[in-house]
Amino acid sequence: MAVHYYDRDDINTDLLFPGKYTYKCSNGPEIKEHLLEDLDPGFAEKVQPGDIVMAGKNFGCGSSREQPSVGLRYVGVDAVIARSFARIFYRSAINQGLLLVESPEAVDAYSPGDEVEVDPARGVVTVGGEDFGFPALPDEMLEILEDGGLLAHIRKTVKGGGQ
């Protein structure tokens, strides 16, 4: 497990996935190629399933494009931990089944090399041996997340689809 730590606020959707690819890439492998390209050019090659992304406040601000949340989920990122998240990205992450942890304390406590673990069931993130609670999702959203995203949730709950 590695932590990809970006010590900055307002990491926007263009940094997470440049707009020029928005209408060229929509599936996992295509998105992965350009994921975080203008923020951390080596990210796509080094990221491994189970890794964690950590950053400052207002993570994911800007566009409603979903390649950032789809991409982070596709490459198997376990959770994004940030001081705060922009609302469209926050919704989008739930829709993709990507766990977000809002904890300024955990970000403050982190030093490079620290082990980081997230226990969504207990609502606890552990940074270098120290535990921090984070706010649980409301039940309705938790269900979507646990089902693996909105469309998986709909497949489960809306038998036969729309009509």
Binding site: D9, D10, N12, T13, D14, L15, P18, G19, K20, T22, Y23, K24, S26, D38, K57, N58, C61, G62, S63, S64, R65, E66, S69, V70, S84, A86, R87, I88, R91, S92, N95, Q96, P138, E140, M141, G149, L150, L151, I154, R155, V158, G160, G161, G162, Q163
Partner: protein, 418 residues
């Protein structure tokens, strides 16, 4: 304690009294998607193979992001959308050339006061100018809405922006909203609703209000909304939407924050690279040379913007070191500008007029920058890499500032022209 616009509208839509923080499920009146509809069709069809859209009459689809298609892949996406529109009997479809979705929906009468509108585009908040509860969502959620017809909202706290006075000279609504975003910060209204209040509203045209509501997302807002007045009614009159569901907050509504602005104290401002809230008064910016000026987008591509720019430019030509791109926001705007002779004046001055669309704003189509270049744009975002190149700089300003900059070759104060 009275209730805010967001409380009232989510209360009505969910059929119960709601408090800030409550989760409610609502059926939006309109679900907007654009070129990303092609990707949403994939999600829809893989979730409910052979399924029908639950409320096809609530869908609005506008092809605007990469139009006319820049590649065969874009064209294939557009073709797929046209087939889907026919198969599903979707009435409100606007093909390439109609315009940018946030200009087209109001023009076509699809934006009603008091409506709940969601769109797979972050600038869906533009419709707050017409008193709609309008918020951006992602593609997946749009697919979910096509299937189930409903989604959830958390009732947001509300910031009130109280405005007095009126805009003076070449200070515009763009300068006002950039000033507000600069003061609030990029996340200053995150998860919140923003309500615009005060006697200044009567002096703001619909184009001004659209510019301002459009940029609500740049301070993180879920929605940014104006009340309905005569100006709104005048716009809506011949366009047909139901104007009977107007909604506004109570005078004793509970706002989490109140900010006051006297419009007469404003000066032109510029958002410096690479964040929208990095706002500086133009008097402190200095003569920064630019390579390109882009006048257009859902923020400032309306007839009023084109006219304001020409008022500044007069008979002057675009500076020899500058490429000026003018993008009318819709076919309606394009035609009106053409018939009024505005487009010819831009072309005569050395500018390029492009078809209505979003392309240059997000680096998706035309107007890309080279490494090291600078662009003064009337768009809503100046994020690093947005116009196709990480090593370029984007400065945001008003149509007036864009015009002054285009003729000077460097960022210039429109009040100092002539």
């Amino acid at each position: 304690m009275g209730r805010t616009f967001a409380q009232k509208i989510l209360g009505r839509a969910s059929g119960r009294d709601v408090e800030v923080g409550d989760i409610v499920f609502v059926e939006p009146d309109c679900v907007l998607t654009h070129d990303n509809t092609a990707a949403i069709i994939d999600k829809f069809e893989s979730t409910v193979p052979g399924g029908k859209v639950r409320y096809p009459d609530k869908l609005a689809i506008v092809l605007d992001h990469v139009v006319p298609a820049a590649s065969s892949k874009n064209a294939a996406g557009h073709a797929r959308i046209r087939r889907f529109v026919k198969e599903q009997g979707i009435e409100h479809f606007y093909d390439a050339g109609t315009g940018i979705c946030h200009q087209v929906l109001p023009e076509k009468g699809l934006v009603a006061p008091g409506a709940v509108i969601v769109g797979s585009d972050s600038h869906t908040c533009t419709y707050g100018a017409f008193n709609a509860f309008a918020a951006g969502i992602d593609r997946t959620e749009a697919a979910g809405l096509w299937i189930t017809g409903k989604t959830w909202f958390k009732v947001p706290p509300t910031v009130s922006i109280e405005m007095t006075g009126h805009l003076v000279g070449r200070v515009s609504a763009k300068d006002l909203i950039l000033r507000i975003v600069g003061d609030m910060g990029a996340d200053g209204a995150n998860y919140m609703a923003v309500e615009f209040h005060g006697p200044a509203i009567g002096s703001l045209r619909m184009s001004d209000r659209m510019t301002m509501a459009n940029m609500g997302i740049e301070m993180g807002a879920k929605l940014a909304v104006f009340p309905v007045d005569r100006v709104t009614q005048e716009y809506l009159r011949n366009r047909g939407p139901d104007a009977s569901r107007t909604m506004w907050s109570d005078v004793d509504a509970d706002f989490c924050q109140v900010r006051e602005y006297n419009l007469e104290e404003l000066e032109p401002v510029v958002a410096m690279p690479h964040n929208v809230d990095n706002v500086a008064p133009i008097s402190e910016v200095g003569k920064i040379e630019v390579d390109q000026v882009f006048l257009g987008t859902c923020t400032n591509g309306r007839l009023e913007d084109l006219q304001a720019a020409l008022d500044v430019m007069g008979e002057a030509s675009v500076h020899e070191n500058v490429r000026m791109i003018v993008g009318p926001a819709s076919r309606e705007v394009y035609l009106k500008a053409d018939r009024a002779g505005l487009l010819a004046r831009f072309v005569e001055a050395g500018a390029m007029v492009i078809p209505p669309g979003c392309g240059p704003c997000l680096g998706a189509h035309m107007g890309a920058l080279a490494p090291g270049e600078r662009c003064l744009s009337t768009a809503n975002r100046n994020f690093q890499g947005r116009m196709g190149e990480k090593e370029a700089e984007i400065y945001l300003g008003s149509a007036e500032t864009a015009a002054a900059t285009a003729i000077a070759g460097h960022i210039a104060d429109p009040r100092e022209v002539r």
